[in-house]
């Protein structure tokens, strides 16, 4: 049995005595017998701290991690990046880790100000005016982006580029299914081909760069959206934002994104953090999803922060709320803010540049291999798809035997591309690793 409970037997007895009860069991005396569990839980008995950690170690040893195990070229929405020592050191501070949502602002200025800074930086990344204090992940941010557009436009059709990550498209379908009508815009040469007639669209959802790493024409999408009376929701890669024009400046109304690259480990997919920003439009006060931190003053007129506009939220509007987000990903958002401050504008640019250089180099090396070809033609930044002679799954398996996570097999997601692998290269890969990888790749094709 663990020691979560401080009470000694004597103390429990004294408390029961005070309550006039004979046993702990009596605390549940008013509950109908019919529903009470006899004999306790059929769950293994508690284990010592060290035993539990030994179990965890054994589970961990049954993985072949992409970081610290294999040499990885996998991206597809989750990226290996360097994590400066300051990020975990500060993020693990227990005042952040073990506090609740900052409902009592006087006791929560730390978290509130950190989120205010996060909001400010997210606005800067996307070239927009208002950011919320985080959503669950890129997928939930996309969902909320479409919901916001639907509420703001009072329409219910949404166009989604096929080059939005398939998992995100699927989440959007699951979670907006009962309320929105979703249509998919097809791809031509790795970029979205929007239909000329968008109908009564509430929103267009485009990714920049898109899931295949290609640079979409966001400005064109924005024009089309606005012409049709719709909002453009852009899923923007925040690392790429170090080099690319901001989606806000290109005309996007809402930016959503995945904040994982900033200080969060791959962690088998979570917890990550959904970035969300928009213009300072009238719909903000009513429809912006998620928590918002605002600046104000205290009783002595000193600067202070507080959760604001909570009139939008469930605990006030209940059934009329447009979003049910309550607990979000605050700690991951704070980690991202710390990482972004560590990078600064020039570090972020350098990061994006290094990713792009590594990708260019890797792509060139792999394209020298006979039979390897670009899967699509559009310009890319640090992620790209290659066509392989023969099933990608087999190639990837052989690469894994040699210690490489060679990318992600695109066949289940984009069968139209044939045998294709999606590779991402970040600042973590060295030239020597890439050279070895390329020659292993060549062998794996034989």
């Amino acid at each position: 049995m663990g020691h979560s409970v401080p009470h000694t037997d004597a103390e429990i007895a004294a408390m029961l005595d005070f309550l006039g009860l004979a046993s702990l069991d009596d605390l549940y005396a008013h509950i109908p017998d019919a529903v009470r569990l006899a004999g306790g839980l059929d769950v293994a008995p508690g284990a010592a701290e060290s035993d539990v950690l030994a179990e965890i170690d054994a589970l961990a040893a049954a993985n072949r991690p992409a970081v610290g195990g294999l040499v990885s070229f996998a991206g597809f929405g989750a990226y290996e990046h360097e994590r400066p020592a300051v990020v975990p050191a500060l993020t693990m501070r227990s005042e952040f880790v073990t506090s609740y949502t900052p409902y009592q602002p006087e006791l929560s200025q730390g978290v509130l100000q950190a989120l205010f800074e996060y909001q400010s930086m997210v606005c800067a990344l996307f070239g927009l005016d208002v950011a919320n204090a985080s959503l669950y992940d890129a997928a939930s941010a996309a969902v909320e982006g479409l919901n916001l557009a639907a509420a703001a436009t009072k329409r219910r059709v949404a166009w989604i580029s096929r080059a939005v990550h398939p998992n995100i498209r699927e989440v959007v379908r699951t979670l907006t299914g009962p309320r929105l009508e979703l249509r998919e815009a097809p791809l031509v040469d790795g970029r979205t081909e929007w239909p000329d007639d968008l109908g009564e669209a509430a929103a267009l959802l485009v990714a920049y760069p898109n899931v295949l790493g290609c640079l979409e024409d966001v400005a064109d999408a924005a024009r089309r959206a606005h012409d049709a009376g719709a909002l453009l929701v852009a899923q923007a890669d925040p690392v790429a934002a170090g080099l690319l024009r901001s989606v806000g400046s290109l005309g996007a109304d809402v930016a959503v994104g995945e904040g994982q690259p900033f200080g969060t480990p791959l962690g088998f997919g979570g917890p990550y953090v959904g970035l969300f920003a928009t213009r300072n439009a009238p719909y903000v006060r009513r429809w912006l999803p998620g928590r918002l931190v605002g600046e104000t003053v205290d009783a002595d007129n000193r600067r202070a922060y507080v959760l604001t506009l909570s009139t939008r939220e469930q605990h006030i509007r209940r059934a009329e709320a447009s979003s049910n987000v309550c607990t979000n990903q605050t700690l991951i958002a704070i980690a991202a803010a710390i990482h972004l401050a560590w990078l600064g504008p020039h570090g972020l640019r350098e990061l994006a540049l290094r990713c792009a250089r590594g990708a260019r180099y890797t792509r060139e090396q792999l394209l020298r291999i006979p039979g390897v070809e670009p899967a699509v033609d559009a310009p890319t930044l640090y992620e790209f798809a290659l066509r392989t002679p023969g099933p990608a799954a087999v190639v990837l398996e052989r690469l894994a035997e040699e210690g490489y996570l060679g990318g992600v097999d695109l066949a289940p997601h984009y069968p139209e591309l044939g045998d294709a692998i999606l590779l991402a290269v970040t600042e973590t890969r060295t030239r020597a690793e890439v050279d070895d990888f390329a020659s292993t790749f060549e062998k794996a094709l034989r």
Binding site: L41, A74, S99, L266, F268, H315
Partner: protein
């Protein structure tokens, strides 16, 4: 003495200095105000890659003129800034946090270690199953434990928080009715329910119908009878409910809903009260979401990340979100499969995996026996505290409470004009985080107190005495102290109205000078 005024290095160029800690009640600049152009923390590893220019790599029409306007700070200033921010925040690791409905209990440090093992943190979510057997096994075993705890058949671990779990559960409800060929439009929710419940109902495309509470604070059975019809998809219930009371009519409630063809949804935020004592499945619930960041010691992180798995009765398993980690009994390997009639994906990947690893470690450390003791002691502490404040506050719903109870400060307000809010702020000065205020909505001047099992009896007693002290004080001073509170925090009472009126949601450069003016000296 005469001094040359030589502040050669301050001014609008940025780079404010700051040194103060909360030892003292100092102002803390925004990180942008610490920024100085050209200052830096960053470095990157040496890779040997060719050093192409950006213009070689990015088509001109995509290339930004300038990178995003982030702050430029030294590592030293960044660390000091954030460390000082942390000291402006209360937390469970500093003391009791009896926030009702939120189950702010101590999270064992062992779980921090478990969730930072490199063999877990370094796994890419798109790696093939052969490379992630450890993770898949962890998830399958956690699912199994959660099912045993709730008395359900299977669970999805994808939802990232309670509210996402609710939506998932309601979509399952919807899929079930759809599959049965009888779509319905309404979901019943008690008036004491948490606000996410009706919001989730809306997002699931249903209409909320409120079920009133009776004088006991429980679902009004008669009202329920009149509301249940064949357009009702189901009933969402928290049990114990948000008044901390167990719905003792649960068997009858379940019968009514089921007979009308509806499903029973359990909001498991309050599971902490009943671990090992009562199981939602045994009460007749068909769908259960759990807040692992309440009952299973995932720390709240200032507002997340959490995890909100949803467990279901056998008849709903085929609708669960996919892909689901499962053990293939033939190969004895773990795989990811999507149920035949799955509602689809809820999360971009597999859920908040590292949070799930924490819950796994917590369940393993406590075990079945330990979890039961957790529940018993959570109830014991709440029951004790409730009896100790019986003479201090009104107790509008005076049934035996479970892990929390809702008191009303209406008596204090009547006597002194002091509101629950003022008492809460005054309690801060006594060293405690205030209880949840003004929730549930059906209680006037509500104070919703949940001590949790990790607080010692002495701490619970100290809370009781603090409540007593501040109410006695209010009676004596007419509430002056309470209305002036808190005076010991980094900032005094915060103006929430101005925040909403003059929206300032991000830092802008013009603010720097005005703030500097507002804060002439760090010492207040």
């Amino acid at each position: 003495m005469t001094r040359k005024p030589q502040p050669v290095l301050t001014g609008p160029s940025g780079g404010q200095a700051w040194s103060a800690s909360v030892i003292g009640r100092h102002h803390e600049p925004v990180v942008y105000e610490l920024s100085s152009p050209g200052r830096r923390s960053w470095s990157f590893r040496t890779t040997g890659m060719p050093e192409w220019d950006a213009t070689d790599l990015v088509p001109a029409d995509h290339l930004a003129d300038e990178p995003p306007a982030l702050p430029e700070v030294s590592e030293r200033d960044l660390v000091a800034h954030v460390t000082r921010l942390t000291q402006r925040n209360y937390s469970v690791d500093l003391g009791a946090y009896p926030l009702g409905s939120c189950t702010m209990k101590y999270n064992p440090k062992l779980c921090d270690v478990a969730s930072s093992v490199p063999g877990l943190t370094g796994v890419h979510p798109a790696q093939p199953g052969e490379q992630t057997q450890g993770w898949l096994r962890l998830l399958v075993e956690l699912e199994d434990a959660l099912c045993r705890i709730t008395g359900m058949a299977a669970a999805t671990l994808q939802p990232a928080a309670g509210a996402q779990g609710e939506l998932t559960g309601l979509l399952l409800m919807r899929a079930w009715h759809d599959a049965a060929g009888s779509p319905r439009t309404k979901v019943l929710i008690p008036d004491s329910a948490h606000g996410t419940n009706p919001a989730s109902v809306t997002l699931a495309g249903y209409q909320t119908v409120e079920v009133p509470s009776d004088r006991r604070g429980l679902v009004d059975l008669d009202a329920l009878r009149t509301l249940v019809d064949d357009d009702v998809a189901g009933l969402m219930l928290t049990n114990p409910n948000t008044l901390g009371l167990f719905e003792t009519d649960i068997v009858e409630i379940a019968r009514l809903v089921h007979e009308a063809g509806g499903l029973l949804y359990y909001d498991g935020a309050n599971l902490n009260a009943i671990l090992g004592e009562v199981r939602p499945g045994d009460m007749g619930f068909d769908i259960v979401h759990m807040n692992l960041h309440k009952t299973f010691a995932v720390p709240h992180g200032g507002g997340g990340p959490g995890a909100g798995p949803v467990a279901v009765a056998p008849r709903l398993v085929e609708f669960l979100p996919g892909p689901r980690p499962q053990l293939d009994p033939e190969t004895n390997r773990y795989t990811l499969t999507t149920p035949p009639r799955s509602i689809g994906r809820i999360h971009g990947w597999h859920g908040n995996a590292l949070a799930l690893a924490r819950a796994y470690a917590y369940i393993r450390a406590n075990g079945g026996d330990g979890l039961q003791l957790v529940a018993q002691t959570a109830v014991l502490n709440a029951r004790y505290l409730k009896e100790r404040v019986r003479d201090v506050f009104d107790l509008p719903y005076d049934e035996p409470c479970m892990h929390e109870f809702v008191a009303s400060a209406a008596n204090v307000k009547r006597a002194t004009g002091v509101k629950a809010l003022d008492l809460a702020k005054r309690l801060i000065e006594e060293g405690f985080h205030p209880p949840t205020m003004y929730f549930p909505l059906i209680v006037d001047e509500a104070l919703m107190v949940e001590p949790t099992e990790t607080e010692s009896p002495q701490t619970v007693e100290a809370m009781a005495q603090a409540f007593e002290r501040i109410v006695t004080e209010a009676e004596a001073d007419g509430g002056a102290a309470a209305r002036a509170a808190p005076r010991t925090t980094p900032v005094s009472r915060v103006d929430e109205v101005q925040a909403a009126k003059k929206l300032r949601l991000r830092w802008t450069p013009d603010e720097e000078r005005s703030t500097a003016a507002r804060v002439p000296s760090p010492l207040h």
